[in-house]
Symmetry: C2
Subunit: 547 residues, 2 copies
Amino acid sequence: MSEQKNTYRSIFLWGDKKIRPLEEGVRALVKEQFGLTEADLDQKYLYSDDEVKLDIAPALSEKQLNELQTICGNENVKTDDYNRALHAHGYFFGELLKLRKESIETPPDVVVYPKDEQEIVQLLAFAEKEKLAITPVGGRSSVTRGVETPQGGISLDLSENLNRILEVNEINHTVTVEPGIMGPVLEKHLNKMGYTCGHFPQSFEYSTVGGWVAARGAGQASTGYGKIEDMVLAMHVVTPVGIIQTKDYPASAEAWDLNKTFIGSEGCLGIITQVTLKIRPYRPKNTASASFIFKDFETATLMMRKAMQSEIGVPHLFRISDPVETETAFRINGFVNSMSDKFLKTLGYKNNSRCLMFVSIEGDKNYTLLVKKRMKKLAKKHHGFYIGGSPTKKWLKQRYESAYMRDPLMDAGIMTDTVETAVPWDKLIPLWKAVRTYLESREKSYVMVHISHVYENGANLYFTFLSPMKKGDEVEDYRVYHQGLIDTIHENGGSLSHHHGIGRALAPWMENEMGSTAMGLMQAVKDHLDPKGILNPGNTLGLRSKI
Amino acid sequence: MSEQKNTYRSIFLWGDKKIRPLEEGVRALVKEQFGLTEADLDQKYLYSDDEVKLDIAPALSEKQLNELQTICGNENVKTDDYNRALHAHGYFFGELLKLRKESIETPPDVVVYPKDEQEIVQLLAFAEKEKLAITPVGGRSSVTRGVETPQGGISLDLSENLNRILEVNEINHTVTVEPGIMGPVLEKHLNKMGYTCGHFPQSFEYSTVGGWVAARGAGQASTGYGKIEDMVLAMHVVTPVGIIQTKDYPASAEAWDLNKTFIGSEGCLGIITQVTLKIRPYRPKNTASASFIFKDFETATLMMRKAMQSEIGVPHLFRISDPVETETAFRINGFVNSMSDKFLKTLGYKNNSRCLMFVSIEGDKNYTLLVKKRMKKLAKKHHGFYIGGSPTKKWLKQRYESAYMRDPLMDAGIMTDTVETAVPWDKLIPLWKAVRTYLESREKSYVMVHISHVYENGANLYFTFLSPMKKGDEVEDYRVYHQGLIDTIHENGGSLSHHHGIGRALAPWMENEMGSTAMGLMQAVKDHLDPKGILNPGNTLGLRSKI
């Protein structure tokens, strides 16, 4: 790793920055689908292992820097090229492309690492006075262009010094943390005390509580534990016009819920400096797992809907892969043409139609066993074939690994991206078909879909798509393909996002999606709290900023 | 009823307007507690059966009335004394006192009954043009001075013509309604189709969906089904600056959740014209009920907390009465000194310490039975004595009756009021004690407390208090007592409301409770959506209105 330290490559590689070579099954599949050779796969496409050198010097005066250093301490104010480059982007596919092309157009002028709420108050006042943009970041895992710095200015990194656990309240079952704490640090601490946070987004290992809240995320166990908005009880938010502190009431009828104005505000309304979250008992031995094969996607989603609407208890992880994703998993795991595969086929679970479902339930032992039993019964009624708990357990073990596949695929010149939506049940199958049709209308594309967050009234759909890049025209090619994809989701009644957020990537659809009166209200909230428009400016959420 | 039609009395009597005589047990208790005679109880104190005559004529010109009639139709515009008086107040105790004193200081000038969203758009434009206050009302069951008309103007009654069920979506498990539909009409319609709304506030029989949403209410089964904010998927809200329509996504990460800005907005931000709610299967035969006696309130709440935090499944109704409320119920039901009572006492369930708990669970039969079993086990561990399902079932049967006791008690000159709060677990017992001490510091007071809405992280506390009125000084006496009560709740870390809302009654505490930055944000939202300040003006929620 050390030799990569200051390269562009070290910025865009995911997580621990170590490349996992593509599994043989994936290599074979990609070669076959896209007509590639071994050599194609082993190329180092847009490898970009040059040292970072920015063309743009920080647009800050000596005096401004001094003021920042006075607020945060010299060691917490950085203007070197590498740190500025590191804070110029998140992990949106278009951003990764630009980084691979070693193009960083609008880095922040400075990165600061505040140590407490009071420093943030001072930083906002400073930014207002100097008319500087200020963009809060945590793990920078945004896939929506949420942490870019199109106006330069200050990147406010909360992960370095504002990452403490302030209180675990075992009576109230709450934990109060600073925003910059990473998922595993929090979870490990809670596990040791017998609790879990219950929030496991794909980015869990490299994302922060502040980021989860700001982008309104969801974890893989959200069907049972809820989205992050269901977990937050209280917050501190520093805005340019003052600090808002909500209280840890279990519920309230004190006018409207202000927490809900800041959850999903993506750094546009204020800086989250403290969050109180629910915690739950950590009892992994009680977890009950079940896996099923269904004959087709329609029947699998029907069973899923019935499970959520029948009040038989709620699974925490609840997931179906569509036929292509199912077949891909089977193929990569060497299941295809095994004895079991042949047996399944004789039972009518045919490839390119059958679907894999994962279920796991947490809680009291009696509860998890009952829910599992009821799920098995319901699955059977819908011709779901029970294949034991281990496929689900295996999936859970490697749950964060798939994020690491993007880098070697991009090294091989393959566009690899994911997009997600939420949709009421009655629009789910038509939307799935329409988006699949759209994505497959591209020559040489490979599309996998799953449902991973389920509700009484609908579910999300998560699309993963691969396709060889158009060499030389990667950025524009992707832009156009992505635009058609979001158009298709939008036209078919899906939300712009279920848990990734909006950022700048989806901002262009917001006015049409929300309507002008709703956008006007959001803008008014923004203008009131951030009158100088310094907070995460440049069309985040589709909001205008005066800066 | 007919002879009461146009009296003050017919306005303030609850519900079906029929007086249920006080039960013998209640009479005996009240006599004993307050040293009253039979004659005291049979007096007709502030009986106010005079015909309503207002001193103030409607402050509307002929032209203004004509415009209103053009918008809504002649039959939907009313300026007679009775209708104006009817729409001048809700059911806050202080309002009931004033009505009993036949004092209606600020009636609306006119009551209108719009038929559709478009008429409401026109009404708001008219009110802005003419600088008239406009106050939306549904069932007028507000106990927080939420529907008063201190500035006169227009009372916008949504219950008459905007009360249709627009769609029951059996795929998505949702119902879409107009705001003025009453609880029983909705519930009956859903029950016939095999569904329930799951929202049963004390005011269920005479309150509307729009009111539930506007005041952020909770029903008696909220522990299982959630508060109204957990049930609303989509809304239409007509504001003076345009219509906001949210969508029925099961979840979303499209910036912050705008539904949550209107749930609890109490008519200050816009008129709710359409609501899409979750519905659940209606299977009363599956309901499992359990009732327990605990040795003391502390242990009963501990069991309740453990039940909510142990992930053993969730009861829908979950309730504990504190020792006085328990003893009151026992006494009224003739249980005291029965064989069973003596038996309980020998087991250590002593009066003035023991507490009654009600539990009922809905859903799949296997689920309800399991949860009941687990609750029984947990109760046993906390020395809870199981007394079968019938006390809970009996309570459920007469669940709406207690609201009818206020009228005969007030006829007997007894102040009868309820106040509620929500509190994290670690503050619950101290708050209960502090508020009890405060309420009992009044000479001749009788205080009953229960918990009726329970969460992983805390619960509500619901206080019912009785005390002879100070004759001649009823209004001021109550005001001072109520003020001290809210101060005590506030100082002991309770929310200003768990489900009644804020209205004007609790508005004076809002600035201190929320902080000035939060109040500033709420005011900015108000000023943006309602720039002329016509919507429910006069300090509702502590917001200023320009009108």
